[in-house]
Amino acid sequence: MSRTRTRLALAVGTAAIAALALTACSSGGDPLTGDGESSAAPASDTIVIGSQAYYSNEIIAEIYAQALEGAGFTVERQFSIGQRDAYIPSLEDGSIQLFPEYTGNLLQFFDPETTATTSDEVYAALQDALPEGLTVLDQSPATDQDSYNVTAAFAAEHNLKSIGDLAGISPLVFGGAPELETRPYFTDLKATYDVDATFSATADTTVDELVAGNIQVANVYSADPRIQTQDLVTLDDPEGLFLASNVVPVVSTSVADEIADVINKVSSALTPEGLVALNVQSTEDQTSPEDIAAGWLKDNGLAG
């Protein structure tokens, strides 16, 4: 009897120890939520860089990371965190110190009622809107903002140049991420351009649905390579429905001065076409973010 019990205890004990050991050897990638879950502030010479759950953003974060490593910093990566809910608190309390962001979208996060639209207005408003402890470094000329696109054929058929030219066309289904339905750049379409639009939540399949003809207008990020590869036409936005949204590094004020030099050089070297090219490498060539970042830094003479 006792031998059985010993065996059983042994088996259970081993399993429990194995479980605990596995817990201990995790790669430590917990997404921080800022509710007492954030890890303690890292060593003073380590910069913690985060990224959104968006492959393009991850590439930019990796570029920041390698640029800093080249300049002699130690970098800890916490990528693909996801929603701003999850990572803004961590930025605020200092457990993440650097994050690639987009001026317009970030401004709307902190100040949903903002009226700024041009690139400079948005940047200035953002600096005011940021909470204590956070600041932004120089913004980059590269943009990655929402934009309305149609197929070349559709544009030719209806003679479309700007969003306003869509007025009167029916059916007019707009596709994009589920959140688009609630955003002012969709709900204000009627008021600003007299466009009657219905919405379809197409998420990741948006461009495919546009090309297939299931939707007429797609909200595509301006740095998406498929705008060129699928021959899409981006409609002009003279009334400023969309906020300008340039790539901008958000940093904790505690490290802002240390890394400003390195990161500002990266920001100024990143052009709109350059960003698209990076995205092409990720989607068409399926290259990993590490390789893409290394290649870009080398090409721009910024490799440490």
């Binding site: 009897m1 059985t4 019990r5 065996r7 059983l8 042994l10 088996a11 259970v12 081993t14 399993a15 429990a16 194995a18 479980a19 596995l22 817990t23 050897c25 995790s26 790669s27 990638g29 917990d30 997404p31 939520t33 509710d35 879950e37 759950a53 968006y54 492959y55 693909s80 965190i81 996801g82 929603q83 809910d85 999850a86 990741d204 990720s282 989607t283 399926q286 290259t287 990993s288």
Partner: protein, 230 residues
């Protein structure tokens, strides 16, 4: 499959996270289910209510449970704790019935013999009842482990990094091998854990002839099926 070869380290690190996020709920679920299942078995009037209520937890869809946990207990919605607690709850839901059924399946004559020999209730539980419920517990544990490992992938929708990342990232970048790699990795991990559990079962319960164990496990699976779990 060149994508897979180029990104083996990504798959590996995500797998480690995934295993960690799965093992904790499996172990916790098992540990919590033992006293609860024992209570349900021991006090017959309670049995129906407890088992049905706990079984109901399994019917709650995961995305829904995350929100309920956040609302009821103030757990941050987009957090790993939320995922692990939800997975543990599912584990308890499955295992409690297994524990109750396992204890039920112990031959009354054996239990009487143990009493006759002089074992007190505590000793009887650990030395007679629990070991003899082994095959049934093992069946439940295998179901728990497999479903936990595959369910953990939903965590990516609430921002938890594990193999589910390969699904959303692959969906964004339209890279089929990436998504496929994620599916295969999850299935492989589940398979390995399943084999390990079978092995652990053979080691911990060497007294059971293979056929007997299979038959009892099958009966246990049938009972889980009747409950709508397996």
């Amino acid at each position: 499959m060149s994508w897979v070869l180029d990104n083996l380290d990504l798959i590996w690190s995500l797998s480690l996270d995934h295993v960690r996020q799965s093992v904790i709920p499996i172990v916790l679920g098992f540990l919590i289910a033992i006293p609860v299942g024992w209570l349900a078995w021991r006090y017959t009037p309670l049995r129906g209510t407890v088992l049905t209520t706990i079984g109901l937890l399994y019917t709650i869809p995961s995305l829904g449970l995350f929100a309920l946990l956040a609302a009821l207990f103030g757990i941050p919605y987009l957090s790993e704790s939320n995922l692990i607690i939800a997975l543990t709850i599912y584990g308890v839901a499955i295992m409690t019935r297994s524990v109750a059924d396992g204890l039920e399946s112990v031959d009354a004559a054996t239990r009487s013999a143990a009493i006759a020999v002089g074992y007190g209730p505590w000793r009887r539980f650990w030395v007679v009842d629990l070991p003899l419920s082994g095959p049934v517990l093992l069946a439940g544990l295998r179901v728990t482990a497999t479903s936990t490992i595959s369910l953990a992938t939903v965590g990516i929708l609430i921002g938890v990094q594990n193999l589910g990342y390969l699904f959303t990232n692959g969906s964004q970048r339209r890279i089929i091998p990436e998504v496929l790699a994620g599916v295969v990795a999850v299935v492989v991990i589940a398979l390995i854990v399943d084999l390990l559990l079978i092995l652990a079962g053979r080691l911990a319960m060497p007294w059971i002839p293979r056929q007997g164990q299979e038959r009892r496990e099958r009966a246990a699976m049938r009972r889980l099926a009747a409950e709508g779990i397996a």
